[in-house]
Amino acid sequence: MKKFERLLWLIAIVGFVVGAFGLYDRVANGHINVSYGSYVPWGLWVAAYIYLVGVSAGAFLISALVYAFGVQKLEKIGKLALFTAIITLGISLFSIWLDLGHPERAWRLAAHTNFSSMMGWMIWLYTAYFILLVAELWFALHADFVAWSARKDFAGALARFLTFGKRDASAEAQKRDKSVLRVLGSLGIPLAIAFHGSVGALFGVIGARPYWNTGLTPIMFLVGALLSGGALITFITFVFGPNQGSAEHKETVIFLGQIVLALLALDTLLEWAEYSIGLYNSIPAHAASMELILFGPYWWAFWVVHLAIGVVLPGLMLVFRGKTPAWVATAGLLIAATFISVRLNIVIPGLAVPELEGLSNAFTGPGLTFNYFPTLTEWLLQIWVVSVGLFAFLIGYRVLPVVSAQGKTNIPANTHKEL
């Protein structure tokens, strides 16, 4: 898988360099060269934010299968899933931070929280989730840090530092770590559900937008999070997971593929419920957003990107080639990558329907339009943000013991079995 890793490095470097222009434009010119504005106030960056944060929640819940429920088939990838969850959380928050009109006032969210706003709740749930993620990852890596401390390279020095002086990796100490992990993992489940549910609720509570304003919205967010996060972890496990080529690795990927297939089926069911009820709506105006998704100018985002490449194709791969890790991983990558179209199709069509007849022609100007498509600046900045995440992942993969490949640690083979 070295080849893959090199390819990802290349993508990260190109994305970082090219995307830097988007960052420059956002910092230098603010919100001038963007497509969102007054009538469609949220765009690609908000969609990317709910997408990435969903991936984070999904990846975390996969790790919770290991640490809270002790699912043995996944025990080797718990750390990788946690690490992915932290990185995707970090870049999602960066996306939304630069989306703010006044990023320098973001501290107000914590200092002057309005708890009648779902966004106010979201901030605190994120903070709690972030602290929990960091703590959990530390406990998950603690024994590996101690083991790596013996190394003479940079990773060894970093591991020594990150032990924070706690060099005890005896069986007892590891047992302690594991019980802490079980507590943190168990706490994390309701927390992850609450925080991503609050992201869904943030949209769900907006009565002015009938498309968002349903009790199904937070549930769709959660299932979508599990699906996109699980799919990404499947791909990552295939490429970066421990003991590649072993029967155990193969088994892990196939098992993940089965989970993803089940989630894909559940997500499709919910989507069917949402669209069939919405379109049948006896108040035609309420179906306007969905008609926009299915038959509007960006119909291909739903039919081609989401349905064909993100649901049908990977679904077929998982059903008919579910025993071949490479196919399963490809399906995972397709689902995870195309899921941004689902998030875009939540954010934009909810806003792109005029709230009052005649508004679109009443007073015109930049931002006073209902037709949204991201500008080059928006795409480039998002590419830059994702590249930063990719860098962080690739560097972390090298210098942190997020993958406990055999021979690199001194953890006895039976350590995890107790879970």
Binding site: G37, G101, R105, R108, L109, S117, A208, L359, F363, G367
Partner: protein
């Protein structure tokens, strides 16, 4: 001559007759009593009512607007007056006039709907603000604290009337040799001086109609009200039972936008 004069006396209005009959008859008649000829402009009455309201504590005022759609000719003077008063940049508008063509040829006409902020009593935009930067003032105006707003635009999504817009920092004359002073001069929303030319707030904020709160403070009616050529927009204190808006908003032909949402708008339309 006399017959014509009689005819006029019989059919013409008092005013018309008063003006014409002396010319026709060559008879000097005394000027009609002033009270019969002068009619107080609605603006004069509303300004007096405004002064009266300002003498009360803010919490006892209830600013409302009444828009008579039968009188609106769709000239958009109110929109432009608002843009000029608040020095609104491209992409920001507080009071567009929505136009709709109704009927089928040959029975076609235009319907005009000026849409300021409704200053709802149950504003959906207020509870969603994560930092409490937008709030309902005691006098009923839904205001934004520009210094506290973080620019997340959640409130814009929550407004059912699209009454909030986002100031992205654009200038009308940015592609010309120099920014014109009509854009770079500060505006005085909420009775404070806001200088956009430095890139500061309200750039990056949500913005909205606030019934020209700064003009009210100075005893002046909102810019859209004074500019309306047809006197189709009325403004005043609903807590004052003798005010013009109290009279008008009690008409059976009064309606409010999206009444079914329960937002309790404080802008009334006469249809």
């Amino acid at each position: 001559m006399t017959n014509e004069a009689t005819l006029l006396d019989k059919y013409a209005s008092e005013v018309f007759a008063g003006l014409v009959s002396p010319a026709l008859n060559g008879v000097q008649i005394s000027a009609a009593p002033a009270s019969d000829l002068t009619k107080e402009d609605a603006l004069v009455r509303m300004t007096a009512e405004l002064k009266r309201a300002l003498e009360k504590p803010a919490s006892e005022r209830r600013w409302v607007m009444v828009i008579d759609l039968r009188k609106c000719v769709g000239c958009t003077a109110c929109t432009i007056a608002c843009v000029a008063e608040n020095k609104l940049p491209p992409g920001v508008v507080y009071r567009p006039v929505l136009m709709e063509e109704i009927g089928t040829y040959p029975n076609v006409s235009m319907k005009f709907l000026p849409r300021p902020c409704m200053q709802c009593d149950e504003p959906p935009c207020v509870p969603v603000c994560p930092v409490s930067a937008t709030f309902k003032r005691p006098d009923g105006i839904v205001a934004i604290n520009y210094d506290e707003c973080i620019g997340c635009r959640y409130c814009i999504t929550a407004c059912p009337y699209s009454a909030r817009t986002f100031d992205a920092g654009r200038f009308y004359t940015s592609d010309t040799p120099q920014l014109e002073s009509y854009e770079t001069l500060p505006n005085f929303e909420y009775s404070e001086s806001w200088d956009r030319s430095k890139g500061d707030s309200p750039i990056g904020n949500a913005r909205k109609c606030q019934f020209c709160a700064h003009r009210l403070d100075a005893g002046m009616l909102p810019a859209c009200v004074t500019t309306c050529i047809g006197r189709a927009t009325y403004f005043g204190d609903a807590n004052d039972p003798d005010s013009l808006v109290s009279e008008l908003s009690a008409s059976p032909n009064m309606m409010r936008l999206k009444e079914e949402m329960g937002t309790e708008p404080k802008v009334y339309y006469l249809v």
